[in-house]
Each structure stands twice: as structure tokens, then as C-alpha cells.
Amino acid sequence: MKKPELAHVVAVHMGLGHLRVAYPLRSLSGDKIIVWGSRGQVSRGEKKYWRLWRRIYYHLSRVGSYPVIGKLALKILISVERIPPFYPQRDLSRPTVGVRLLKFLIRKANLARSLPEYLKGDNLPVINTFYATAIALDMNVKGQEPPRENYVIICDADVNRVWVPEKPAESQLRYLVPCSRAKARLINYGVKEENIFVTGFPLPTENIGSEERMEGLKIDLMARLRQLDSSGKFFAYYSQTVQQLLGLSKIPDSAGRPFTIMFAIGGAGAQVETVARILKSLNKEINSAQIRLIFACGVQRKVLEKVLKFINRQGLSPQIGRNIYLIYQDDVFNYFDQFNRWLRQTDVLWTKPSELSFYCGLGIPILMAAPIGPQEERNRRWLIDIHAGIVPPGPPEYCAEWLSDLRKNGRLAEAAWAGFIKARKLGTYKIAKLLETGQFTEE
């Protein structure tokens, strides 16, 4: 049975990140996620506008791998998304060009301006996963009685000033943030502390279990730790802690499946070229069923076809469905569903440090591909700070060698454990509670 609607969840299709955040919250909105900018909700003009932005985003994300133009485009992307250094701590509330441009686009170019009209049937809270819709609503909420609660989820460990309205002190926008560093940054941008809730990133509850016991997460983590610690070095130090915190009387023997790596290619397909290098290195291990590879190909047909091409080139197509699995769906929410299922059997998540960085809270070590853009740089740093992320010690074409070393020295198991211990896991539950009761206690 569907739960009663607690809020509207408004996402945009600007890469997979802002949609992935929304997916675990679907139960709050009666399984309906509003993907703003898609068909049936916005005018034709605005739809084109969103599509244009999406294309630019996708091209900029991909273009990094091109020789000369790539470097230049990447510089442009970095300068647009620039996040100032955290130290020295200072007042950063002055609006930037990006903030003014966004205000102009909302006021003059009608970006997301019809959203309040679309939602006018009730006064339920709104949870946004992208700043533009949140700020468009915030501009509209002034003068509304009673004001609609308007939340925005921060999807990274640090953010650009554009996530905060021009005059933050006057804004009623509330922030749901994944970590305390993001909170500190928002305070620097002038957001009132009472409007910031460090809930943690909303992770899929189907990968956790109940809020109190986290049964699913603990079972998966135990199996994973066994896989990751091939020489027993990790358990030599941590077996008692693991038993105590996971509530086990004894450490079980084997996970009963091959060592499984999931490689997330990303919504824009930015990482697709790395697939060929990984396959080349792991060819022998895949054929001998020592390693199982899962490629998360997103929702773009071109990406799936390219991955298949690399698999065929390595003569590994007979391994599809055996030791190679491909996650692809043309519907983005079906894709997340499949992705989350496979994640339960994943031992290592190899991804650029996107919003997936926060999935380390599920006890999955994050093997970090090169970041794209300043926010991913900050996520990378956060992962390193909490010891849940690992910088690959060698190039992907030698991953068979260094993955084996990382297993033997217990570093992967350590990262999995650190993510479980240090990262927030219950974001989805905390957001639900906040909406239901209005109560929030920061840990």
C-alpha cells in the first residue's frame, strides 16, 4: 500500500545525480517524482531550454577526454562551477555572477517559473534536488500564506554559491545536507543555521533495511568484508569491532560469490573509455570466474553499445550474464532500481566521486576515478578524509595487479568499514521524519 504523500519531490534530468537523489524519496510523494523540464509539465520553450542545458552539461562532462578542446572546455566548466577555498573561513554571502544569472533566467527567461503554478493544488512541502527549481520556488514563496515548506537536497560534499539565493538571510529555503562540511559552507554563504539540516545523503532504504537495525546493510557488509579481506589482515585488527557493531556472534566464512566490482560509467558516459582498459587487464580473471564485473551503463543507448563493443573486442561476450553484467534501462528510475539491487552484491564501487561517493555509507569502498568539476574534487577529498575512498594506485590497464594488492593488504576492507562507520546512512529516514514531525536532531 502506498504511504500518504508527505511532500512533492522535484528533480531535473541534468545527469543522473539529481535524479538518483530523488529516487529513495519516492515513498514520500506517493511514488511520483516530478522531473521538471520533461514532457507534459513545462511549456515547449522551457522544455527546449532544459534540453539545451542538459546537452551542454553532457558535452562538457564528456569533452574532458578530448585532446586540446577538452582541456579548454574543462577549464570553462571548472570556472563556472568554481567553489572557493574553505579556508580562511569568511563571509561569502555576496552573490556571484552565477547567482545573478540564475535570478535573471527565472525572472526573465521563465526558467522553472511555472513550477509554483503546477504545484498550486495543495500546500505540501517540496523537496528539490536541483537548485534552479528550489530558488524559483523560493522567489515565489515570499508573500504566500502560509508559506510552503521548500527544501533542497545538497548532492555533494561542498557546493557553489549558486545553490543559495541572492539574499540568503531573507530566504526561507531549507537545506538537507549530506555532511557537516556542506553545512559549514552554506553558513559561509549566509544561510541561517536553523535552515540547514545535516540529514545525510538519502540512500536507498532497500539497501539498508529498517532504520533501527539496518539488517540488509549489515548482512551485505559482512559478506563484502569477507571478499575484500583475502589475506585476513583486516579481520586480524577489526574482527571484534566488526562482530560487536554488526551484532554477530561469529564471523562467517565465505561470501559464496566471486569478487564483484561495479564500474559506474556515469550519466554522460564520461568514463566509457576506461571500460576497455579494465577489460583488457581483467580478461583472465573474468574468464576464470575469479572476478565478476558489473558495468552500470546508465540510460544512454550509445554507452551500452560502446561497452558491448569493448567486451566483444576482448572476446568476452560469452561472459555476459556469467561474469559480466550490464545495467542499462531506458527508464531512469528502473535503472536505479536495478542499480540498487546489484549494489547489494557489489564489493567495490569504481566511480568518479559524484553523488555516488555517499554510497560509501552502505559499507562499499569507493575506488575513485578522476573527478570532473570542483564539486567532485570536494567529494573526493571528503572520501579521502573519512578513509572510505581509494585513489587507484595504478592505471586501469593494470587493475588486475593492484586490485589484488588492495585486497591482500586489507585496504579495501578498511575503506568499506570506514564508510560504514563514518558516513551518514539514514538520510532517507531522517528526511521522512523531518517532514512527518517537523523534528530533527543533529548527530
Binding site: 543507448r301 558491448l308 563493443k309 566483444n312 561476450s317 550474464g321
Partner: protein, 382 residues
């Protein structure tokens, strides 16, 4: 066009199809093949078409039919044939008619899930085959290690002027392009009339469902296979497409649908297609420059008629036995080319395709947007 005609003649059915041995080789692996047949209504010569699949010289195969519902006119024939050939495992599914996706792919997805074969052979209801066809396709599959085998199409059995037009169009333009593009550029133009597929390769893409949002599913299947690194090949085994009593209207509609799809798949290539209609170019030149181009226009028209006639004589053996086809041929070519010019212009004005009761608006790569407005389906009083 000369090259296209020459290549078609070189690979004409009579020479190529006799090269393979007459009976199955004991050393050859002949896996179970599932024949997938989406059917809707009565096609020309349906019973004989379907019966030809029950008479295949192949060790082990099954035939799966999909119809919209249990009232489909073709069911009586299918059931009769299934009873006549109990040795061939037959399965019939009623799959319904989807509103917003490719109806053929909808049927094929169902058939795929119900089938057991390592290989899937998709053919249309209008297709008729020789007993050795499947064996030869499988032999090609095994020897080439290809994951998809496609075929040129022989339009035949014309009993009306429009049928002759449609069949000539298939044999000259469509199969000409299939063969020429493959021979010269290794570009597969896969036509849904006959596709032999490796099930595991298709599964890697997610099955037929992967193509459900596109109208030009056959072309895209070939392209996706090739882009994904699965080998695609042909052994020029011609598949007969029976068109006996087509009307001008049905020919025009089919050609218009195909033209709209081609224009969405590759616009520059579509523009180049105009060169394959030199009659219209010559007539246009004559209209602009007056009588000075008359001789040239006549020569071009005669040349085009000759090429198509050579193609007709070389490959369409059943139709060349009818005198009326020879007599009407020149006029037919002229009328056809003028009609095809009108068809050529259509995609520049409209993206809407009508196909067996469906109205689709198509976008890039023939992406389907259903024309039926769901909101309008809501009961007025609701």
C-alpha cells in the same frame, strides 16, 4: 545506379542460392531455431507464405506466432497449418496492441520470452521461403561467426500494376541499397522481412525491448549489433516478399512511411537518394530550361527504365513469366518514379506515420511519439 544494378545481378537469387549442398551436412552444428512471426490480418498469399515455413529442410525448429487478439483473421490459417504439420512445434500468442511503442517489437518481445531457440529467425507474414533457406542462413551464421544474418528481399508475384510497382521498388531500390551498401561500405541495411539473430547477443542489449521506442526497429537492430561489436553478415540468400494485389494507395502509404523513417535515420543520405530518381531531375531540368533538355530527359528516362528492366529480368523470375508485366513496365517505372518523388518530399512537411491503425509522430532515429493524446482518452464524465 549502374553499380547497384550490377551488384544485384551478381548476387541474384538463382546463382547464389544453389551454391550450398542440397541436404544438411552431418558435421555442421544446427542449433534449435525459433521462428518468430508477428502477424496481423491477411497478407497476400498468407497460407502459402506460412506453409513454406512448415516445409523447411532443417533438423529442429519451432514456430511462434503473435497476433493482436484471438479474433485476428489469420488465426484460422495458422491453426490449420499447425494441425497439418504436427511435427513442427507451433505456439500462438495474443499479445494485445500497445498504444505507445513499436507494435512489432511488442509482439517480438513476447515471442522472444516464449521461445527456446539459441537462434531467433524473425520474418514477416508476407514472406515466403525455400526449404533450404534456414539451413543456409544457419550455415552462414556458423561459418562467419556473425551474430546477425540479414537478407535482401525479392518482391514478387505481382498481379496488379501497384504490386508490380511495389515489387520493382523493393528489388531495385531497397535490395539494391541493401547489397550495394554492404558490398561497398560494409554498412548493414537490415530489413525486418528476415533477420536471423543470436539470442545471447540480443539479450546483451536487453532483448527486443531495447528497440521498442523506435519505428525503424530492423535498421536499428542491425546498427546496434554492429556498433556493439557483434558481427553482422549476409550470404545474399534472397527472401521472397509476396505482394499480389497491392493498391496504389497502399504502395504510396508504405513508401511514405519508409521515406519518413529514412529521413529521420540519416538526413544527408536521404537527400542523396534523390539522385536515384534521375527521371524527376531530368523532367525538372526540362521544365526549367524548356525543350533543349527534352532529348536528355528522354534519354535519362529510357536509361532508368532499362536498368530497372534488367533488374526485373535478372531477379524477378516469377513475374517475368507474365506478359502484362513486360508490357506495362515502362509506364509503371515512370509513374512509380513520379510517385516516389512526391513521397520523397513528404518528410519535409510531416513527421506523422500511419501504420496498421497506429498514428505515430517520429523523431530522430525514428523515435516514436504516439499521436494519441492520453488525456483525450479520459471519459468525458470522469
Amino acid at each position: 545506379m549502374l553499380a547497384m544494378t550490377a551488384l544485384v545481378i551478381w548476387h541474384r537469387p538463382t546463382t547464389r542460392q544453389k551454391k550450398s549442398p542440397a541436404s544438411p551436412s552431418p558435421s555442421q552444428d544446427y542449433p534449435l531455431v525459433s521462428l518468430l512471426k508477428p502477424v496481423k490480418g491477411m497478407d497476400d498469399g498468407l497460407e502459402a507464405n506460412l506453409e513454406s515455413f512448415y516445409q523447411l529442410d532443417y533438423p529442429l525448429y519451432e514456430i511462434l506466432f503473435a497476433v493482436d487478439d484471438w479474433q485476428d483473421e489469420s488465426l484460422a490459417i495458422i491453426k490449420k497449418l499447425a494441425a497439418r504439420y504436427p511435427g513442427v512445434h507451433t505456439k500462438i500468442l495474443a499479445t494485445g496492441d500497445p498504444l505507445a511503442e513499436n507494435p512489432k517489437i511488442h509482439k517480438l518481445s513476447w515471442l522472444e520470452s516464449e521461445s527456446r531457440g539459441r537462434l531467433l529467425w524473425v520474418t514477416d507474414a508476407s514472406v515466403r521461403v525455400e526449404p533450404q533457406t534456414l539451413r543456409r542462413l544457419v550455415e552462414k551464421y556458423s561459418s562467419s561467426k556473425a551474430k546477425l544474418i540479414f537478407s535482401p528481399v525479392l518482391g514478387t508475384n505481382s498481379h496488379s500494376l501497384a504490386s508490380l510497382m511495389e515489387n520493382t521498388y523493393l528489388n531495385f531500390f531497397t535490395s539494391g541499397n541493401i547489397i550495394a551498401l554492404w558490398k561497398l561500405f560494409r554498412q548493414p541495411v537490415v530489413m525486418g522481412k528476415s533477420i536471423l539473430l543470436d539470442r545471447s547477443a540480443l539479450k546483451a542489449l536487453g532483448g527486443f525491448k531495447y528497440f521498442k521506442d523506435y519505428l525503424a526497429e530492423d535498421y536499428l537492430i542491425g546498427k546496434s549489433f554492429q556498433d556493439s561489436g557483434f558481427k553482422v553478415d549476409t550470404n545474399y540468400i534472397w527472401i521472397k516478399n509476396i505482394s499480389e494485389q497491392a493498391s496504389l494507395r497502399s504502395f504510396f502509404k508504405r513508401a511514405a512511411r519508409w521515406a519518413r523513417m529514412r529521413s529521420k535515420l540519416n538526413r544527408p543520405a536521404y537527400l542523396v537518394e534523390l539522385l536515384l530518381n534521375p527521371v524527376v531531375i531530368a523532367l525538372a531540368a526540362m521544365a526549367v530550361s524548356g525543350g533543349s533538355f527534352l532529348k536528355l530527359a528522354l534519354a535519362v528516362a529510357a536509361g532508368k527504365i532499362m536498368l530497372e528492366y534488367v533488374n526485373f529480368l535478372a531477379i524477378n523470375v516469377p513475374d517475368r513469366k507474365r506478359l502484362v508485366n513486360h508490357l506495362s513496365f515502362p509506364v509503371m517505372v515512370m509513374v512509380k518514379d513520379l510517385l516516389l518523388f512526391a513521397v520523397f518530399l513528404l518528410p519535409f512537411f510531416s513527421n506523422t506515420v500511419d501504420w496498421r491503425g497506429h498514428h505515430f509522430k517520429i523523431g530522430k532515429n525514428s523515435l516514436i511519439t504516439p499521436q494519441t493524446d492520453i488525456e483525450k482518452l479520459v471519459y468525458e464524465e470522469a
